[in-house]
């Protein structure tokens, strides 16, 4: 079984080595700005910046694959809905018989798609260059409760384990004669025999895990010793604040000048 859920791609780029919270601030800022920045030029600028970072991190190919899968359908949907049905449409781009496609809708859709593209780019850039264990450790160092940290990290291993359990249960029940394919009625009948063992086994497993954690001293009220020394410094700390401050600044500018 794969080693837990994680999108992390090995690498030594600047982005890989940056402090997790710096990358976090970058992501939050980029995502917010993608929707706050007023016009084409600004959003395009953001997109190019993100693209440059993606290339520098060496994750262009991975991101392209993700982009096609996620952005493709969304973009097509936007182009269709806006191009055909936006109420402000009046300039014809092209017509196929009775079906008319408008320029205004096209522009709206394209900008929206670009904004979403920035969102996808920024979030996946973060996921590809940051280990879940690292971001959790960074948060724990800043005061996140150990229980929360544990819940976040263990989900990544427990979810695939649970999926595996679901497959085993399905095999076991099929081997008893349960039909799992076919009519809706059949599938409905199969629901309990498939769901209940999963729920019950998960509950039993949760209790066992909780006992094993206590036996190892989890929850002991002691001062935390940091596990990882992140390279940090004035530059990164300033950068983090700077990036985050861009958001309220952009909001104010947009409201004030009707940007």
């Amino acid at each position: 079984m794969a080693g837990g859920l994680s999108l992390y791609a090995e690498g030594e780029s600047l982005l890989h080595r940056a402090h997790p919270l710096t990358k976090g601030a970058l992501t939050v800022s980029a995502v917010a700005l993608a929707f706050i920045l007023p016009s084409w030029t600004w959003v395009l600028g953001l997109a190019f910046l993100l693209l440059a970072l993606i290339v520098a991190a060496g994750v262009l190919r991975r991101l392209a694959a993700v982009a096609v899968v996620i952005l493709g359908p969304i973009t097509l949907l936007l182009l269709a809905v806006q191009g055909f049905a936006n109420p402000a449409n009046h300039t014809v781009a092209f017509a196929l018989g009775p079906v008319v496609y408008y320029r205004e809708g096209l522009a709206v859709a394209a900008l929206a798609a670009l904004r979403i593209g920035c969102l996808v780019g920024a979030t996946f850039l973060f996921s590809f260059t940051t280990k879940p264990a690292d971001i959790t450790e960074a948060l724990l160092q800043r005061g996140l409760s150990p229980r929360m940290g544990y819940v976040l990290l263990s989900a990544l291993q427990i979810i695939p384990q649970t999926l595996e359990m679901a497959t085993r249960i399905q095999d076991a029940q099929r081997a008893r004669g349960l039909e799992t394919e076919g009519s809706l009625l059949r599938r409905a009948r199969a629901y309990m025999p498939l769901m209940l063992p999963l729920v019950l086994s998960s509950l039993v497993a949760t209790e066992e895990r909780a006992m094993a954690l206590e036996v190892r001293g989890f929850g002991l009220a002691v001062a935390r010793v940091s596990r990882i020394d992140f390279k940090d410094g004035l530059f990164q700390r300033t950068l983090r604040w700077g990036l985050l401050l861009l958001v309220p600044v952009a909001i104010v500018l947009r409201l004030a000048r009707r940007w």
Partner: protein, 278 residues
């Protein structure tokens, strides 16, 4: 030499909402450094015994405890499980649910326990290396825990406990879900721990292995102690044989009409049968 590692004084325990007691009037004293085998039919209270030693009963499960359970001189009711975890470790049957799930590497997984105890990084690294060497998993230090087999996971769980340098280990059927290779590996580790003076209380159904390794065996039935003594003595009692079972060698000697004491180990059986045929 201080007092016993584990002491049960007229201890009785019933789980929350249970009508019947799982343990009744247990009198048991385990000295430091002993390796005790605990056996008995299903629902005899063997697991409950371990859970009481660890403090999971009554702290985790609730329930009613009568009498006293003392671990290294400290009353069970006064000390919680996590506080006790520096001295006592417990290994469970299921290798898969003892992995924390929050670490990507075997060595980081072993470090989990000591980290919870606030131990400094240098010392943690030392303890991890020591624990991995003890269980024979040094070669797999960089692997993801989900790549390991059941037997390896059980050894990993054990390493995780050993990193806390416990004085007492409670093992609840640790090899029952493992294949022979996994079982042999665990027993090897336990033997070396025993050599280092760790007190071991182990629940086990494989009576041949029990008799070979433990100088003292406790047989439990329906929440009570049926017998407590060296395996040669315990498994020569008909009441134990009838209600708990016996090592294969003992049954063979009995069926062959050999005189008591019937052997409990291979070596003993070779002698007993060899003499007979001589």
């Amino acid at each position: 030499m201080s007092g016993p590692a584990l002491l049960f004084e007229h201890a009785s325990y019933a789980y929350q909402g249970a009508a019947l007691e799982s343990l009744s009037d247990i009198e048991l004293s385990v000295a430091e450094g002993e390796w005790i085998g605990v056996t008995g039919p299903t629902n005899a209270g063997k697991s409950t015994l371990c859970l009481l030693g660890m403090g999971l009963a009554p702290h985790f499960f609730g329930g009613r405890l009568k009498g006293r359970v003392t671990v290294f001189g400290r009353d069970s009711l006064a000390v919680g499980v996590v506080e006790r975890s520096a001295e006592v470790g417990m290994l469970f049957q299921n290798p898969f649910t003892q992995v924390s799930g929050a670490r990507d590497r075997v060595d980081e997984e072993v470090a989990f326990g000591p980290e919870c105890h606030g131990i400094g990084r240098m010392e943690v690294a030392e303890r991890v290396a020591e624990a991995l060497a003890l269980v024979g998993l040094e070669g797999l230090a960089a692997r993801h825990p989900s790549d390991l087999s059941g037997g390896q996971l059980q050894r990993l769980a054990l390493a995780g406990l050993l990193a806390m340098r416990p004085r007492l280990l409670l093992l609840d059927e640790p090899t029952s879900q493992l294949d022979p290779a996994g079982t042999a590996a665990i027993f090897d580790v336990l033997a070396s721990l025993h050599g280092r003076g760790v007190t071991i209380v182990m629940v086990e159904h494989r009576l041949e292995r029990l008799s070979e390794n433990c100088r003292r065996v406790i047989a439990m039935v329906s929440g009570r102690l049926l017998a407590d003594g060296p395996p040669e003595e315990v498994f020569n009692r008909l009441s134990v044989i009838e209600r708990v079972g016996e090592p294969v060698y003992t049954g063979l000697a009995r069926d062959a009409g050999l005189p008591q004491p019937w052997p409990v180990t291979l070596a003993g059986a070779v002698v007993a049968f060899g003499t007979r045929r001589a």
